[in-house]
Amino acid sequence: MSQEAVQLSLPGFEQAHGRWRTEYDRQIGTDRAIKNRSRIEIKPLYTPRDWNGDAFLDDLGFPGQSPYTRGIYPTMHRGRTWTQRQLIGLGTPEDYNKRVRVILDAGATAISLLPCNSGFRGVDCDEVDPVLLGTCGTVINTTDHMDRALDGVPLGRISTAMNDPSPFTLLAFLLAVAKRRGVPWSAITGTSNQSDYISHFIANHMFYRLSLPGARRVLLDHIAFCRTHLPGWNPVSVVGQHMQQAGATPVETMAFTISTALQYAQDCVERGMDIDHVLRRFTFFFDISISFFEEVAKFRAGRRIWARLTRERLGAKDPGSWRFKFHAQTSGVDLTEQQPLNNIARVAVQAMAGIMSGLQSLHTDAYDEAITTPTEETARIAVATQNILREEAHLCDVIDPLGGSYYVETLTDQMEREMLKLIGQIDEAGGMYKAAETGLIQGMIGQSALAFQEKVESGEEKVVGVNCYQDGNSAPPARPTERPDLARMDAHIARFKVFKEQRSQSDVDRALDALKRAANSARENTYERIVEAAAAGVTHGEIVRLLRAELGFGHPLVVV
């Protein structure tokens, strides 16, 4: 807004501003430039001169209306609170079942399943040292395991988030269980939370199983399968979490994630799918860091960019396609091992930022997340945090409460500009797939990570209990570290071996042959065969091993 315009609508503004500035400069002492994590400079004060609402209808609008800056639905949390979706996974299927029943008894309608690291690696439980199993997720290698894990869980009435990357065997096991129980697949709802293979290639090597072209093929087959058989399932969750956890700034994270979504949308269109049909089932998954206002601005800018790009660039016509739906998790990277109880405060702040950004579902970390898998007690506090924010702080009463803040709107605009610049850069590199293949993105993230680390080392970026206020550091609690019961895990492995001996080997061989043929034929759908294989008693490790042989083993590009 020009100086005259401000002067006209706000007589005396200049003088008052000048007076404040003089006094500020006089009193502040040494004022150094402050930059947020996205390297945007933050001023001490924002005024109508920075943002004045002239562009309200174009840039903000109303909730549920393009460009959705203020929220994707008209009612947002006041109508329906965000979904509490706490990630769980540990030990044997029976261990998981115990935890999930507690959650469901408490009234949850959404569950999440996190597989054991052995699963991410692509092996079965009898292929690794037992002492390593079940510590970070649940060991599920067969349909029977899934059946036991979901014992008593009403599959047609709850929504499941599967934290399982390509080739999505866990969903295949779940579908086989549904068939067993007579639950129609049309009633199955949920999300393939970790379907974003590009983000795994870039920033979460643990989740990266198949080669880039192989993962691309399986994802498209998976999307096509879900279109036909699972109308209630979101096959695509574009993930910003891994990149931000790897050190990407909030601006970089949103830009890279949106670019990835554009890439997947393009791939689907090239395969002949209808863009609106595809986009309606796109969801996003982000981390929320403790840089409070920056996160709020990040999500609002992301919503606005997505609304415009889907329409203008992808030609989507259905408003459902323009809506930026996202699940968010409080960022474990901001939590500290030192003085762990402080993390409860951190998680609360992160959750607040996420809620006020208008997320659709939220996972809050337990305070000991940096050190170990949460216990029942720490998991309870994580959920209580969300309840307190909703019931006591009344964070649901107003939609987009920070909208209109001179600071938040200015920051949203600035971050949007930076994001669009990066998206343009990636366009020039040929799109996100190519940019990842050449290591361009990894290099940028690596630099941001190193820069942040150096700031922490030098003390410029303060972390309580780590490089300041360390006097509270007592010796850690003397309780012995909790480990999964080795005897129970050994029994689980033994039972698994017996299962393999007793199943029909001819069924297994037939299913694997069919999968192999499909992998080598562009006209067949590999995911159809994976689902059939799961029902035929084929194990997770067998499926992954075959696909790695036929479609390529996933070697992430390491850029140091």
Binding site: G430, T438, G439, E550, H555, V558, V560
Partner: protein, 323 residues
């Protein structure tokens, strides 16, 4: 009479177990091979001694050089090729060369992990070599490293390099067959390939041959080959490394070239020795010219600085001055 190695020298080359390191190397002990490679990298007197002793044991191994831009899938291809070699019961040694940081001197050596299939196969010896400031791009000691791998009894020695600097020239000196790996992946054409690389290639590979632009890449390479000054018919092999497609053909092609190889190793050694002597010699002369004091030199410098005589002329005269 040649001065024999002093008793204490040979004693120093024995390990605590008492057997001589060169004997253990020749017997195929991988620990001895690893230690000898480290020694070769130091360029010390001990390294010289050991190298002299093992040269007679070299000449048996087939030496393959692999070069290609990052992203072409070179390491994946080598992984697949090694699998094919192992299926023929051949033993392999790989020297994977990566550049050292010119500023800090350190390096990240990450090539070997792409040869994942062979991570536990003792028939495949893999060594990561940092260039350690060697301006050529390869390492100064790479030919000695290849020699010890040869002397250790490995059937095939593979040198893998990114192809920076003049490394392709150095690879051509060491390798019996040079393979240059390309891929039609970046949307650009293979025109990005350096002219020097094309000159030394014995085999050209177009990897990721299932991509739509692969045929065009192959055609472009054929066109560029016509510009080669020796007009030799260089085979182009198409591969899909992640699926092992085309690898048998590549192996057969390399085999044919090895069988037909008439140039002998000694000539290659002599060519290399001449180049290294010229390089070392020019370093010596450079230092002496730069540091030489004295009246004659000062006069020459003044004359050149004022333009009285040209630089080339001054250089000729300066060489006579330092003798």
């Amino acid at each position: 009479m040649d001065t024999p190695l002093s008793l204490s020298d040979t004693a120093r080359e024995k390990s605590p177990t008492g057997s001589d390191i060169v004997e253990r190397l020749a017997a195929g002990d991988p620990a001895a091979l690893a230690r000898c490679i480290s020694l070769m990298e130091t360029g010390s007197a001990a390294a010289d001694r050991i190298h002299r002793r093992i040269v007679p044991k070299t000449g048996r191994a087939a030496v393959l050089g692999f070069t290609g831009a990052p992203g072409a899938g070179k390491s994946t291809l080598i992984d697949a090729l090694i699998a094919a070699l192992r299926a023929q019961a051949r033993t392999v040694a790989v020297a994977a060369v990566d550049p050292s940081s010119p500023i800090f001197g350190g390096a990240i050596l990450g090539d070997r992990v792409r040869m994942r299939r062979h991570a536990e196969d003792s028939g495949v010896f893999i060594r990561s070599v940092a260039s350690r400031g060697h301006l050529g791009g390869l390492s100064e000691s790479i030919h000695r490293i290849v020699d010890v791998m040869d002397a250790a009894g490995r059937d095939v020695v593979i040198v893998e390099t990114v192809g920076t600097g003049q490394s392709e020239v150095e690879v051509a000196e060491i390798a019996d067959v040079c393979v240059v790996v390309n891929a039609p992946n970046m949307g650009d054409d293979v025109q990005a390939m350096k002219a020097g690389v094309l000159e030394i290639a014995d085999v050209l590979v177009v990897n990721k041959a299932d991509l739509p632009l692969a045929q065009r890449a192959t055609d472009q390479l054929r066109d560029m080959l016509k510009l080669r000054h020796d007009k030799r018919d260089v085979p182009i092999v198409e591969t899909i490394a992640i699926k092992d497609t085309g690898v048998e053909t590549l192996l057969a092609t390399i085999g044919t070239l090895l069988a037909g190889r008439t140039s002998d190793k000694q000539k290659a050694r002599e060519r290399r020795a001449r180049r290294l002597i010229a390089q070392a010699g020019s370093r010596l002369i450079y230092d002496r010219l730069r540091d030489h004091a004295g009246g004659e030199m000062e006069d020459l410098i003044k004359a050149a600085a004022s333009g009285e005589i040209g630089i080339a002329d001054a250089a000729q005269r300066a060489l006579k001055v330092i003798g």
